[in-house]
């Protein structure tokens, strides 16, 4: 049973009440827009609340402790998994990076975390689930984690510690016993405040994205884009990754948009690669990280992750 069916009924009722004629393009676009917006906002509210509540039990300070003395491959896998639960905003990129490296978390594991944290997060998950279904959502998460783990292992193996800015390593290992105690009410308050905060940040992008998606859904002919971005066009994947890099802050709007493009003939692997590039490779994040690492390390990092994403795109275009 589809628990979201009532949204579809509501959308149909609303469109009919507004006097839109069933079966027209406007009808398609309008019902799609209403049903999808409601579904996405409900899912966003519920899932962000749950994840941010869980997160109060696993702040980055504790994650660092877990990662500091692990076997290196275990640390990469753990770092990628923990990255899923940690919100990643560009303003916390530096304290996170420095905090990890200074506490002796291996550089490779730190990068696994840095890749997974923005790429595999609850907002992306909700949008993928509601617009593409659980199979694609699962595929995205799994490949995202694999890319995070492998890029981290590769960066670790390259021994690039000397490319981290000089002031990073001199600080001594610090104990994180200083965290304030949280009551149950504190945790719920935090989850509520965080959920409202994120919704405030993304609602407009979601509306714009779903709106554009709805328009495409209703008005652009099916397979219109297959000519330019179908699975047989090798350049589609690298091109999608390149335009994904500067689009970071609009991830919430980009996913609804690409879901509509997929419907019109863009190959699934290309779509996945595009979404990954939007979330994992972010220009503003690079600018900030440049303060703590040499440009060469940043380029190696972006190159490895970018290559991983492009390979993933090709792979899924070939097999899906």
């Amino acid at each position: 049973m589809d628990i979201f069916a009532p949204f579809g009924w509501f959308a149909t009722w609303l469109a009919a009440a507004l006097g839109i004629v069933p079966g027209t393009r406007l009808w398609d676009a309008a019902t799609f827009f209403v049903a999808d917006t409601l579904k996405i906002f409900l899912l966003l509210a519920v899932i962000i609340f749950a994840v941010s509540w869980l997160r109060t039990y696993l702040p980055p300070e504790r994650i660092r402790k877990l990662l500091a003395h692990q076997h290196k491959y275990v640390a990469n896998v753990l770092a990628a998994l923990l990255g899923v639960f940690t919100p990643f905003c560009t303003c916390s990129a530096i304290p996170l990076f420095l905090g990890f490296v200074e506490a002796g978390v291996p550089l490779g594991a730190t990068f696994s975390f840095l890749v997974a944290s923005p790429m595999v997060n609850e907002v992306a998950l909700v949008l993928l689930l509601s617009l593409f279904g659980w199979r694609i959502a699962l595929l995205y998460i799994t490949t995202g984690l694999v890319i995070a783990v492998l890029s981290g292992i590769l960066i670790g193996a390259l021994r690039l510690e000397h490319l981290v800015a000089g002031f990073v390593k001199k600080a001594e290992v610090i104990d994180a016993a200083a965290l304030p105690e949280l009551t149950h009410k504190d945790r719920l308050d935090y989850a509520k405040a965080y959920t409202i905060d994120i919704l405030k940040k993304v609602w407009l992008y979601v509306l714009l994205g779903v709106g554009a998606g709805a328009w495409i859904h209703g008005y652009v002919p099916v397979d219109f884009l297959a000519r330019y971005a179908g699975a047989d066009k090798w350049y589609a994947v690298p091109f999608a990754v390149l335009i994904g890099i500067p689009l970071y802050s609009n991830a919430a709007g980009v996913i609804p948009l690409v879901s509509a493009l997929t419907e019109k003939g863009v190959a699934m692997g290309t779509t996945l690669a595009f979404m990954m590039a939007v979330t994992a490779l972010s220009l503003p994040e690079f600018m900030i990280l440049k303060k703590v690492m040499k440009t060469r390390l940043l380029l190696i990092f972006a190159g490895i992750v970018g290559a991983g994403i492009i390979l993933t795109g090709f792979l899924f275009n070939a097999i899906l």
Binding site: P59, E61, C91, P95, L179
Partner: protein
């Protein structure tokens, strides 16, 4: 009596500034004898053993880590709960 030392530490992002404004408001509302300071030196956050921003620290001890509370009242509650020992 020494003035209470309130520090908001952050990387200069909008949410850090919001917490700074809320803290000033809370201190003023409670009539606290407090210095409110805005610190953007990341190393000071790390020196407290923390990695998330923003942080609200009272006399060097963190009371809020990594998020902005939903309202000024929450900040007031926290400030009221600080025991006046050693001041």
């Amino acid at each position: 009596m020494k003035a209470m030392k309130l520090q908001v530490l952050g990387s200069g992002c909008p949410s850090c500034k919001r917490l700074y404004e809320m803290t000033k408001q809370a201190a003023a509302d409670l009539g606290l004898d407090a210095d409110v300071e805005y610190v953007t030196d990341i190393q000071q956050i790390l020196a407290m053993g923390l990695m998330s921003s923003p942080v609200l620290a009272v006399d060097g001890k963190p009371v809020i880590v990594g998020f902005v509370p939903g309202s000024v009242d929450k900040v007031k509650e926290l400030l009221k709960a600080i025991p006046p020992v050693g001041r």
